[in-house]
Symmetry: C2
Subunit: 325 residues, 2 copies
């Protein structure tokens, strides 16, 4: 047996899975090395920073972290497409200026209406139906709608290096969660296929809901109005309520993720905060400090002093999309 | 090898884990047989009712289902003990008639104040501190307080047959969740030790929360006011929001669990609803149809027509408590 083993060339041993690069789409930079060093530090039973598998929680923002968010949040594009469909069937749906503007595709007016207008569009298009009906509508939209610049399906505009990071963390015993400002029911439609994240590990914003067993089978309804917005200071609150543990790793891309990273990395023992900086106008988009969507200013200012890693998309990623460059 | 195997007595093979009774504290009645038959039906890959492991979700109510709830919800006893402590330090805490009555142990006035009064007591004693501080207070109370009739610690007043059911279901690939009208942060303090249910699988009522990074380390606070009550029609809504799947098995004991069982068993494919009827005044308590706590009337009326199993505690359970009879 020993003779047999020593006759195997070293190159074969190095090519075996345990020696394989867990992050092949990441350039060999300090960012990649920092991530791997941290994961090894918390998963090595001999390490003083060892974390038990049950406590290995990693939370990921979705828009701009796991999938793209330009030129505008994809969920808003779904809402506007749905609003147009609803208005074609019943024009009375367009009961306000911002709804009329949205249905005409007048994105300037929509943008000027701010969060208030955005929530109005979301509420109008995400309520008055069951969760199952809503998710069927999202599924149908994802299957047919295409991104204006790339021509890709929206749920293909996910980042290959992040898929590798998710997979690497799960291989190392981490439980990977989404903690998104986007809608819980919206994200669940594609999170399992796209990211291998099951519905119970999706945390997101959610509208009012109710249960009904009248005039039909027992069902959970989506009602008008916002119940909880999982953004900024809402993220730590929702993560605590949902998981009951402080994460070990938090990954985001905008100042909406600041408090999630701040809370995570303020925990005792080893913690890691990671920010994705969109620096790649060639393969994706270049934005951050002054962006209306996914603004990243405070995060960039404080990352170094807080020990957070900042991914430079252009320099740290060999490849952006699963299918292409 | 074959000779060796055939020399092992049959009794040894029968005593091996796969042949062991998964519910040893359950009397051999139709209830026990019904539970086991259902679990086999949904876990046998050859069965037309086979359910994949990812979809094997079982939800359990807590008060009166996993632990006792008489003479009054244990969390209310914690709240009153805590209110007394708070009032000793600062009498101004007792700012209403119901709070003053509660601090004096005047349970009649507390009971007469209804849900409104109860929520006032909970809000006053479950807010103004961090989640960590609150849970330390609960831990300390569980370690010191004792039940007035049994003299047992409250987190020992858990039902041995239910522990076996939880364990059996997990062995069969089920994910076991608590869905309780009781407090999320309260239950998490003992759910892992008592039931082997981790914090991320506890669903419960929750007060308002907020995040703060001012004047101290980043932390999640418990604030005054109720955010969500996970009872009655709230249970299906919360379970859907938290898990994103309709459970396969739902277990409760009161009409507060009716909608959870109704929604669960209205799902396509095989589903099971189970109600625990407290019929055992000798070993525990006998109550149900006319009880102020844990009332079970509609559930008893409709169980048979809906195909739900009703556990008769006196007849179906050989043993009630882990340590005793």
């Amino acid at each position: 047996m020993r003779a047999l083993l020593t006759s195997i060339p070293l190159t074969v041993l190095l090519a075996s899975p345990s020696f394989a690069d867990p992050l092949p789409s990441w350039t060999d930079t300090a960012t990649k090395a920092g991530i791997i060093a941290f994961v090894e530090r918390v998963t090595d039973p001999g390490s003083p920073d060892y974390v038990t598998p049950a406590a290995r929680i990693a939370v990921f923002d979705n828009d701009g972290t796991l999938w793209a968010e330009q030129p505008v949040y994809f969920q808003l594009l779904f809402a506007i497409d749905r609003l147009k469909e609803m208005a074609a069937a019943d024009p009375a749906v367009l009961s306000s200026d911002v709804l009329r503007a949205a249905a005409k595709g007048d994105m300037e007016t929509v943008a000027a209406s701010g969060t208030e207008g955005l929530l109005q569009i979301v509420s109008a298009t995400h309520s008055g139906l069951t969760v199952d009906e809503f998710q069927a509508a999202v599924r149908n939209w994802l299957d047919t709608a295409r991104h204006s610049s790339t021509g890709m399906a929206y749920d293909e505009m996910i980042y290959q290096p992040m898929l590798e990071l998710l997979s690497y963390l799960r291989d190392e015993g981490f439980h990977t969660y989404i903690a998104s400002g986007g809608g819980l029911h919206f994200i669940r439609v594609f999170s399992e296929n796209a990211y291998n994240i099951p519905p119970e590990q999706v945390i997101g914003s959610i509208g009012n809901g109710s249960y009904s067993a009248q005039d039909g089978p027992p069902r959970v309804m989506k009602d008008p109005g916002i119940f909880f917005i999982d953004d900024k200071a809402g993220k730590p609150v929702a993560i605590e309520a949902r998981i009951g543990r402080r994460p070990v790793i938090a990954v985001g891309n905008s100042d909406g993720d600041f408090q999630m990273l701040e809370w995570t990395t303020a925990g005792e023992d080893a913690r890691l905060g990671i920010l994705l900086h969109h620096t790649d106008g060639e393969r994706e988009y270049a934005y951050g400090r002054d962006s209306h969507i996914g603004q990243l200013a405070r995060g960039l200012d404080e990352a170094a002093s807080r020990g957070w890693l900042v991914i430079d998309m252009a320099g740290d990623w060999e490849r952006v999309w699963p299918g292409g460059e």
